[in-house]
Amino acid sequence: MALMLLLTIYFLLPVYFLIVAATKPQGDLASTNGLAFSHFNLFSNLHTLFSRSDGIFLKWALNSVIYAVVGAGVGTLISALCGYALAKFQFRGKEFLFSVVLGGVLVPTTALALPLFLLFSSTGMVNTYWAVFLPSIVSPFGVYLARIFASAAVPEELLESARLDGAGEFRTFFSVASRLMAPSLVTIFLFQFVAIWNNFFLPMVMLQKESLFPVTLGLFEWNGQTARAPLLQESVITGSLVSIVPVIIVFILLQRFWRTGLAAGSLK
């Protein structure tokens, strides 16, 4: 029990520190105790954050949302289709395709970013939304999970009876199978959402234009400037808090779904 308490403090400490620091005026950061509240300055900090450089922070936050929500949405759909086909259809070369996908799980994504940059720069796609968005929709791990979930959650007899009723394969997938797979699809979506939201190396390699940055890259750049512009520090802190709190809330709200999905996935 004492161990649990200690670990809980360890996990919560940095976020608690961040919340406290985000409410302080810049001047109090170094001069007051980091774990105690001083002057409540949160709203003024937020105002500074969102008005800095013509509101670039809001732009970064929106970019992150677009990359992560649309990317994970498309990614989940194509992973689900592919994983379902690999689980439920019989065809030649199926195991070979699956092992290629599994091999893809092991390829470090940072090792992909540099050659992708070279390929994209020869097609003029560097420094566009596409350069970050397109590679993000591919998730071999999502296919791996979708295959496990489909074989665990979708009974063969149900597909047979849907086929006997004359439903096409796509109709069967969307109106029968995808519903049974729903909790696991939420899991795949969330994993991919977090992976894209947290991604840093790919956008750093691909983007020079500040207006296309996701929030991670933007805050990284600001953090690097605090040595020259110490007043940025408060905005880095407030910006960090603003960018993690919504994601944490979404995770807590959706935990029933992803926990069911995770439990189904761990069976095999």
């Binding site: 360890y10 940095p14 774990l35 090792a111 540099l114 397109l134 802190i237 926990r259």
Partner: protein, 316 residues
């Protein structure tokens, strides 16, 4: 004898199977392709092609015609780039650093995660949900932001932790040359322990309760049940988390890159990935490609090797 028998049976059975499927109304090839293409097209374009391109680049060298001011062109260079990588002392020190990091951080993190998962699985514990959520919460925090948060906790001017330790007469330098690797390891541990715990915990929850009943009747206590029954059953998920941790360690970039902004003890070639990026920024793409390929091969060998080793041990 039995071998030829089974083989014969397989030959007989084989042509039967597809016929049965077709009569059951299985999907046509075109339909199957329609399910697979939306994933495999981008997979080929943004995974396989870059891997192939990196391989191709890694076998090329830049040469110049007529001295320093001549025009440059790239040509086949054999294993030249790989030889360069293997002779690069910065490469080896980044590998050594990351190796040390992984050998310490991965077991510590996974051991803590396993203990936490086992504790969560016992009926003794109250306030489970709160504990589970607080442990998993860091997973939702991007590595860059986690490193920024911890860098404030490490910095002597701002940190309440340094203050607190100072009152106890301790003056640790979290960003000093000896400590900075472990400060980075702490950020990774903070980020991923709860995630790994949750994977192990989900596996534990999938074990049916009856499994324990016989052991209880034989008088086994909670510890024996945990180590002798639970841990072996969830071994596959422990292997999975280990493989992911190995991959993650070799990819380390964001956390040290952030800490580098406040510590002079992290060089621009601190990890293999930082080295690859630094070399690419110096416009030596062929060398950077070779480094990327070597990192990918090491990742592949280690994670595959670990899977093979553990599956052999488990007698599979």
């Amino acid at each position: 004898m039995t071998d030829t028998e089974t083989r014969a049976r397989r030959v007989v059975a084989a042509p039967d199977a597809p016929r049965r499927r077709r009569s059951g109304g299985g999907p046509r090839a075109g339909t199957i392709a329609a399910f697979l293409t939306p994933f495999f097209l981008p997979f080929v374009l943004f995974y396989l092609v870059p891997v192939g391109y990196a391989l191709w680049q890694s076998f090329r060298v830049v040469r110049r015609t007529g001295g320093q001011y001549g025009t440059s062109y790239t040509t086949f260079g054999g294993f030249h780039q790989y030889a360069q990588v293997l002779h690069n002392t910065e490469f080896w020190s980044s590998i050594g650093r990351i190796g040390l990091f992984g050998i310490v951080q991965v077991p510590v993190m996974l051991f803590v995660a396993l203990i936490m998962a086992l504790l969560l699985d016992t009926p003794l514990l109250k306030v489970k949900a709160f504990f589970r959520i607080s442990a998993f919460m860091p997973y939702a925090v991007p590595g860059v932001i986690a490193a920024i948060m911890w860098s404030y906790l490490y910095s002597p001017q701002l940190s309440p932790v340094v203050d607190l330790l100072g009152h106890l007469g301790l003056h640790p330098d979290f960003l000093g040359p000896g400590a900075v690797l472990w400060s980075t390891a702490n950020v990774s541990t903070w980020l991923w322990t709860g995630y790994n715990m949750l994977i192990m915990f989900s596996a534990l929850q999938a074990i049916p309760q009856e499994t324990y009943e016989a052991a209880k009747l034989d008088g086994a206590n909670n510890w024996t049940i945990a180590w002798r029954i639970k841990v072996p059953i969830i071994a596959p998920s422990i292997v999975l988390t280990t493989v992911f941790s190995i991959i993650g360690t070799l990819q380390l970039y964001a956390e040290p890159a952030v800490l580098r902004q406040i510590s002079s003890n992290i060089s621009s070639t601190f990890t293999p990935n930082m080295l690859a990026y630094a070399v690419a920024s110096g416009n030596n793409y062929q060398q950077a490609a070779a480094i990327s390929v070597v990192i990918a091969v090491i990742t592949f060998v280690l994670s595959f090797g670990f899977m093979r080793l553990t599956s052999k041990k488990a007698g599979l």
